[in-house]
């Protein structure tokens, strides 16, 4: 534990350093600025070095604060590992913000560094929204769009109206004492406090893994409700300015109409910018080095343009990101895509950190605090209650129309997950003090609400989710047979649902896909890219790359690449990273599994950490304990290895990392196996038609980066498979090459480099379009693997065979 004390010391040291720095800076902030060139009148000689603080003041402060924010995040993350992972990061950042704010206030007796609304709305918020929309799972988003819109529009209006009216009612009833406030101002306050905040939602939900539909509903709602919030805010702001008497039907009608204009205008603007962006990236073949920048520039432009036209800026940038992802990702060079992703995550993370930090700092300011117990408590109460009522009400209505109803548990999580955040604070800070005398009260309340939702609800979210799920599951431990059957039922159900045509398989989706295929892709995508648009192919390509990287790092870890030359040790296993939950049970399993031929990196956690245990534990375990151990083994083994069915979530949106979805390996495996068995039955149906020749000599072509942009050239490639998947149980005929179907090739067993397993996955074959696929080899440069086709050699031999297959399948 000396590590943690060291870290604490380091954190304390940093904090002191920052304190001194801030003291110094804020003291100097009041120095009178003098122009650089004007020398002091009483200068006696040539000054060699001068202290030009006023010259660099503004950018210096900005950078220092960014630095401080980054340090804060670092210390928060370090602390979180050691202390508990109970408090979400955002909560901890707010607390650090309190500390820092306290330091500044202590130095200055005034809060010189506050979160200004303009800073927030112009410099900190856009990148978060762009990041969220760029990585949005589109299919999920659009298939749930109806529900999301209902929650966003009607839910927010409901919240605003009910909270505002209830507060007004309570005020009239005297619960809040004397305030200079009226109905319209209550409604204004209601509208700004009712918006669910995307930043807070991501921050909290990232650490709590809920199923994908639930996540997209809350998240989508938080993004899209900006349209409503902006309109309501502006409408009520204008009404407050107009005064009560002048509001009549026309004004109200104008308000409703402005909603339509603002929301749809903003979205439309976003789509326009997305189109521009896609067209731009289509033409940037020769300046690949800066094409990544276009994404950010256009995104920000979309935001600012919408802001300029007083449309909904968040909606604009959201739709820009959502619509452009597909085209931009395919058009741009692979390195640019990576650059964009990483840069976006950096910016978004940084912004989020700064936002929460400043939310904490701004609190330490005596000027803004007005405490009115009734107002604050009632706001919290009403906000909570009406959110729950609203969610349940709208879900009940939605479930009548939805194909897959939203369950009660999800509704509970959804209502609890209605977090308010910095957007509400920003809106509150923008209020005009003249028109709304109780501005400080509103700011104080907003801050309290934000702290409550982010910290308290953030802390309790995870336990709540776990508690709810545990309550539903059966208390008794399931037996093996029940587990197996449960999983089997899930698979069966998923299959039958697919046969019946699930959600999304309706006329609209198919029609849209057709339309998009024909027209949009032709305009917005590079022609070369359009041809290679196979989704599964991209996964395959990504897997290849990752494979190669792991391969090399594994080789380095082992000391040299010599290990790959021996066949037995060539079973590098790149598959499933086992959850850390099993880490402590692993030693037992390792003991029994050590007699099996598993890969070097089979169990990454324990093999690294507890290397010597396996051999020891095998001896220690007596016969009497063996059965119990076996039982646990069997359960855990099954648990880890059973393929997940569709209802277990596959998508995970995360602020801090992105990667290929684990379940895609499963998908590859299953796909390959299914194709193989289909092939078997197909072959047995067509008796005796087999390629006569056996292809044994495939020399590896040494291709050096022919595919600089990561996309394969041309479409006529044949992909084959490598032998060497160790389990012969389900691949009976790999030994006899004469039975290999058209697109399966045999490899030489004495190849110098044994291909890694993950890369042995055969390229998935889309049933609708039979493509010639190249034999896949793993060279030291894996990006070249799919060019290593001896196309001419293999193509002729199987000329007739694939033709026949084409018609059958």
């Amino acid at each position: 534990m000396s590590n943690s004390t060291y870290l604490c010391l380091r954190a304390v040291f940093l904090v002191c350093f920052i304190h001194l720095l801030i003291q110094g800076l804020s003291a100097d902030a009041n120095v009178v600025q003098s122009p650089r060139n004007r020398l002091e009148p009483n200068l006696t000689g040539l000054p060699i070095v001068t202290f030009e603080w006023h010259h660099v003041q503004t950018p210096y402060l900005v950078i220092i604060w960014i630095f401080v924010a980054a340090l804060a995040k670092l210390s928060v993350i370090e602390l979180n590992h050691h202390v508990t992972s109970v408090i979400p990061e955002s909560g901890m950042l707010i607390i650090v913000g309190f500390i820092l704010g306290g330091m500044v206030w202590g130095a200055d007796k005034a809060q010189t560094f506050k979160l200004l609304p303009t800073t927030f709305f112009f410099y900190l918020l856009p990148q978060i929204i762009l990041d969220a929309s760029y990585f949005m799972p589109n299919k999920l988003f659009f298939s749930n769009l109806g529900a999301i819109l209902i929650y966003a529009i009607f839910g927010t209006c409901w919240n605003a109206a009910t909270v505002g009216l209830s507060l007004w009612g309570c005020y009239e009833a005297g619960a809040m004492g004397n305030l200079d406030i009226g109905l319209l101002q209550f409604l204004l306050f209601g509208s700004l406090i009712s918006a669910v905040d995307p930043v807070a939602v991501i921050a909290v939900f990232e650490e709590v893994h809920v199923n994908e539909v639930l996540f997209i509903l809350v998240f989508g709602e938080s993004l899209l409700n900006d349209g409503v919030t902006v309109v309501l805010y502006n409408v009520f702001d204008a009404f407050v300015a107009l005064g009560g008497p002048r509001i009549d039907a026309t004004e109200i009608f104008k308000g409703i109409f402005s909603f339509v204009v603002v929301a749809f205008g903003g979205s439309f603007l976003g789509v326009v910018f997305a189109i521009l962006l896609s067209l731009l990236t289509r033409c940037t073949k020769h300046i690949q080095i800066i094409e990544a920048g276009f994404v950010f520039v256009m995104g920000y432009l979309a935001y600012l343009t919408a802001e300029m036209l007083s449309l909904s800026a968040i909606l604009s940038i959201t739709f820009c990101g959502v619509c452009c992802q597909k085209y931009v990702n395919s058009n741009m060079d692979e390195k640019s895509v990576t650059t964009v992703r990483h840069a976006m995550k950096v910016l978004a993370n940084g912004s989020e950190t700064m936002i929460f930090l400043f939310l904490g700092i701004t609190a330490i300011d005596t000027e803004i605090w007005v405490w009115n117990t009734g107002f604050i408590l009632l706001t919290l109460l009403f906000m909570f209650i009406y959110r729950i009522i609203g969610v349940f009400l709208f879900t009940w209505m939605l479930n009548k129309f939805r194909l897959v109803p939203i369950e009660v548990i999800d509704q509970v999580v959804m209502s609890y997950g209605g977090l308010r955040g910095a957007v509400a604070y920003g809106l509150a800070a923008m209020l005009d003090k003249e028109k709304i005398p109780e501005k400080n009260l509103m700011i104080s309340t907003t801050l309290i609400v934000v702290y409550f939702t982010v910290i308290i609800q953030g802390i309790t979210m995870k336990p709540l989710v776990q508690w709810l799920k545990v309550k539903r599951a059966a208390h008794s431990d399931l037996k093996l047979v029940e587990k197996v059957n449960n999983r089997a039922f899930d698979h069966i159900l998923a299959a039958v649902e697919d046969i019946c045509g699930r959600i999304g398989d309706n006329w609209w989706t198919r029609g849209w896909n057709r339309f998009e295929e024909k027209y949009i892709c032709r305009i917005l995508m590079k022609p070369k890219v359009r041809k290679n648009k196979d989704y599964l192919f991209n996964i395959f390509h990504k897997l290849n790359l990752e494979d190669a990287m792991n391969y090399v790092s594994e080789g380095e870890r082992q000391g040299s690449l010599a290990f790959i030359r021996s066949d037995e040790a060539a079973n590098i296993d790149f598959k499933k990273q086992y959850d850390s939950e099993f880490a402590d049970v692993m030693p037992d399993i390792m003991g029994d599994m050590s007699n099996y031929e598993f890969g070097i990196e089979n169990v990454s956690i324990t093999s690294i950490v507890k290397d010597t245990i396996p051999s020891i534990s095998r001896d220690i375990h007596g016969q009497d304990r063996k059965n119990a151990v076996d039982d646990i083994n069997a359960h855990h083994l099954l648990q880890q290895h059973l393929y997940r069915s569709r209802k277990h979530h596959r998508h995970k949106y995360s602020r801090s990392h992105f990667g290929i979805n684990q379940s895609e390996y499963e998908v590859q495996e299953i796909f390959q196996r299914t194709m193989r068995s289909r092939l078997e039955s197909f072959k047995s149906a067509k008796m005796g038609v087999n390629p006569a020749k056996k292809i044994t000599k495939h020399h590896k072509k040494d291709l050096t980066h022919q595919m600089s942009n990561g996309h394969p050239e041309g479409k006529d490639h044949l992909y084959g498979d490598e032998a060497g998947i160790e389990n012969p149980a389900f691949m009976p005929d790999m030994e006899s090459p004469t039975h290999s179907p058209p697109w399966l090739m045999e490899t030489e067993m004495d190849m110098a480099v044994a291909p890694s397993q993950r890369a042995q996955r055969r390229l998935p074959w889309t049933p609708n379009r039979m493509r010639r696929l190249a034999p896949m080899r793993i060279s030291t440069c894996s990006t070249d693997s799919f060019l290593m086709a001896d196309v001419s050699l293999t193509l002729e031999e199987h000329e007739e065979q694939p033709q026949g297959d084409n018609e059958e399948m």
């Binding site: 194909l403 047979v481 069966i492 159900l493 649902e497 046969i499 045509g501 039982d631 099954l638 609708n768």
Partner: protein, 195 residues
């Protein structure tokens, strides 16, 4: 014969299917349009290739087995009646049906029939027993490539042990039902959007 008009659903067909399977009128028409969209050859019957064309089935471990379940013994084509008959097993059980006294012909979506459907997925040779080999086959399909055969064999043995009451190292249908009596089969084997 191959024209589309002849493959349109007639009212009396709908009535018959309704009686046999218990689906409602709108459900039947909806499933018929789905059947029609799957039937690329437009001959009023689905073949195995038509099912295999559904991409999600290719990534479902039990996909091919379920496809086979649609086809009656030895046949290669399934018409709409057969399609509906198989799907009827997955009709949600309405509450008023659960407590009803069983009619002479038990409805296709009763718990027993759902379990029988699942049982038949395991039991390929139709001897009304799931032998160790059959169980191994199913397990192998549902499990990643990491598990070796020995481990899988031990899991299979253990599974049979838990279910087997008469010691014949096979799971009969009664044993199967008994083991799964705690599992909410009605919910797990019902398509949720066919309300």
């Amino acid at each position: 014969m191959g024209s589309r008009a002849s493959s349109l659903l007639r009212e009396e067909d709908i009535e018959e299917i309704k009686k046999e399977t218990g689906f409602s009128h709108s459900q039947i028409t909806r499933l018929y349009s789905r059947f029609h969209s799957l039937d690329k050859g437009e001959n009023g019957a689905l073949s195995r290739e038509d099912f295999q064309r559904i991409p999600e089935l290719a990534i479902n471990p039990l996909g091919d087995r379920i496809i086979n379940a649609f086809f009656p013994e030895g046949e290669d084509q399934v018409n709409f009646r057969g399609f509906m008959r198989t799907l009827a097993h997955f009709r949600p059980v309405e509450d008023n049906e659960k407590n009803k006294v069983l009619t002479p012909g038990e409805p296709l979506n009763s718990r027993i029939n759902k379990l029988l459907f699942a049982f038949r997925l395991y039991d390929l040779d139709r001897d009304d027993k799931i032998s160790r080999e059959e169980l191994l086959q199913v397990l192998r399909m549902m499990v990643g490539v990491n598990i070796s055969d020995e481990q899988l064999g031990s899991i299979a043995d253990r599974t049979i042990q838990e279910a087997d009451t008469n010691g014949d190292m096979c799971i009969s249908f009664n044993e199967f039902t008994k083991v799964l009596e705690k599992v909410d089969v009605e919910q797990k084997m019902s398509i949720r959007f066919l309300h």
